[in-house]
Symmetry: C2
């Protein structure tokens, strides 16, 4: 792979922007001349005593940019006859910057408020945006393998840097794709959330992993991978360092887990070889996803999805947690969505109308 | 209240249908003459080892009735010039019947399958539909107080009966309202799920309630109600036996909890007086919800919502659990939905863009 050049700069309101360049060799010194107002302070984090969990209250996000016209895309490079954007440079390879409408922010420090069962504090942490490409009309699946490799290095960098922030307990790297999942900007991009507490799903992931390890001395993630490979009915692809499968108890109409063969807690722990193969199998998988459904006139259906790297918590359970990419889609048929209605939202009880073996069979047809 | 007459009958394929009549005095003996095929067997219940939880796989539900034309509504009474429906009678007050496309069913018994970390079994349990009225164009909010009182008795009956089924751990009574939340039938109706395991949200509700009780000797739900009433900023209504408030750590743009003043685990434990006032405050609240948003031309906006009775588990924790109705909406502004995207779906970390105090202030304007 070509060497990646990392340049950190500041936007007009003080937010950090970081360029990860694999093709560009010049300096990244364009200045953000926009008359931006003051940065949003961190919102509130409130304790939900009923379920022993935290909720971020972010009132300023109600006013966030919502499906802007193409020539006002805040993620396109600036100075190409369009409005100045969040990226001052006129081109970029991969770029990361602090979210202008963050759910969590490190402005303002940590402070506790409230009393009795109504406990709260500042929503301390950090939210970032990752632009995968300067091409507004691309998608992650259309990136070349080299560019994916750059994105992987950006993910590694951000995981390492954000893990060092005081109070951060988890770094989540994710992409929401498609209007069906509520995307407010079409430019291909992902997000990074550095949470100041361990989110609910990660509490349960960690609790289950710990208990399994205490009982058996083995890693739960390793055993699940072995069981899926032995069974075979839900396997989607197998490489030298990575495998992908539809989990036995999939919750979503389309759900795939992409997991490393070696026990690793997070992306920074991957070797160069593992990262290289990841760039390859990631693209195989995501190109397949866009062939998964065929529309009524035989056309391809752009699959809406959430794709998220499940990494180990920053400060605990790193010895029992196992990295995996979780990709999930709400589309249960062309034009038909799965909704998280009464059973899922009120009880947390998931009903999946698509047998995982059927989804895996279709994925094997379209991946590869 | 008028006496309610309960009549249990069978549909053509053997499913139970139960009429709860408050105005009708004749017999309920209409016969279901439809040539229905065999009933769907229970689907699969699979263990999700990663998070120590269960997922129901219900492949037959992919083919369920989806937004049928009005004259084919399966929830309207039969024999009014429309196709024969799920209700053989030509009129009804409130009716409950077993769901034709159930996620859980008591056909087939309990059986375990799988091995190693891939454990499964039959999705044993029961799913029912509750029709609140025979008027296709009504809504829960438009029901008279007497009819709501009948619905309450039907809920009590079903909670008692389903709690007695072998293996049932939780009875959830809920209504999904509006196409935004994925409703597939417009006729005003709710659903009842009798789960063969304690769903994830109820595991966390129970764990938090138990810990609080062990630490303080007091009920968490009681303390939260007292704290909300003392604070006042999020109160929506206060009656003699019931109060409604937006919870301090609300997750949804619109979320209200309606809670009894007395410590009760479930609906059957309510006194007649408490049920009478419930019929009154329930309607106040739900009529207010449809005035919550005003559209761009000043029109009322039918609020999409999920409304769910959070009752104590059937077989455990009844001494620490406290009944409450949880109403939640994904609508964050007219035409703007909250999506459960990366943070909520991949991490279980909720971001609410609407401060609960602002939602409560608006609710106080429109309720009452």
């Amino acid at each position: 792979m070509s060497p990646i050049v990392r340049t950190s700069r500041r936007l007009a309101d003080g937010r950090e922007i970081i360029y990860f360049d694999d093709s560009h060799s010049g300096r990244r010194d364009a200045v953000d001349g926009r008359p931006l107002g003051e940065r949003a302070q961190a919102g509130e984090l409130r304790y939900d005593a009923l379920v022993d969990d935290w909720v971020a209250i972010a009132g300023h996000r109600q006013e966030r940019t919502f499906l802007p016209p193409r020539d006002e895309c805040p993620l396109c490079p600036s100075g190409r006859g369009t409005a100045p954007s969040e990226v001052p440079e006129s081109a970029y390879d991969v770029v990361v910057f602090e979210n202008r409408f963050p759910s969590f922010s490190d402005l303002g420090g940590i402070a506790a408020t409230g009393q009795g069962p109504l406990l709260g504090g500042r929503a301390h942490g950090r939210c970032e945006v990752v632009c995968f490409t300067s091409d507004h009309d691309a998608s992650f699946a259309s990136l070349g393998q080299d560019r994916v490799r750059t994105v992987i290095e950006a993910w590694v960098d951000r995981t390492e840097q954000l893990s060092r922030l005081p109070g951060v307990e988890l770094v989540l790297l994710f992409e929401n794709r498609g209007p069906e999942i509520g995307v407010t900007l079409h430019h291909p991009h992902g997000q990074i959330y550095a949470y100041p507490y361990l989110p609910a799903r990660h509490v349960t992931l960690l609790t289950a992993a710990r208990r399994h390890h205490e009982r058996t001395g083995r890693l739960l993630g390793t055993e699940l991978l072995a069981a899926e490979r032995a069974d075979g009915a839900r396997m989607v692809l197998e490489g030298e360092h990575w495998s992908a499968y539809v989990p036995y108890a999939a919750r979503w109409p389309v759900e795939v887990h992409l997991v490393p063969h070696r026990d690793v807690p997070d992306l920074p722990t991957l070797t160069g070889e593992e990262r290289d193969e990841l760039a390859e199998v990631h693209q195989k998988l995501f190109r397949g996803l866009d062939r998964y459904y065929v529309g009524p006139r035989g056309e391809q259906v752009r699959l809406p999805y959430i794709s998220a790297w499940q990494q180990a918590p920053v400060r605990q359970g790193r010895d029992v947690s196992r990295l995996h990419l979780q990709v999930m889609s709400v589309l249960r048929a062309p034009g038909r969505l799965k909704y998280l209605a009464g059973s899922e939202s009120a009880a947390g009880a998931w009903i999946n109308d698509v047998p995982p073996e059927r989804a895996a069979a279709r994925l094997r047809e379209v991946v590869g």
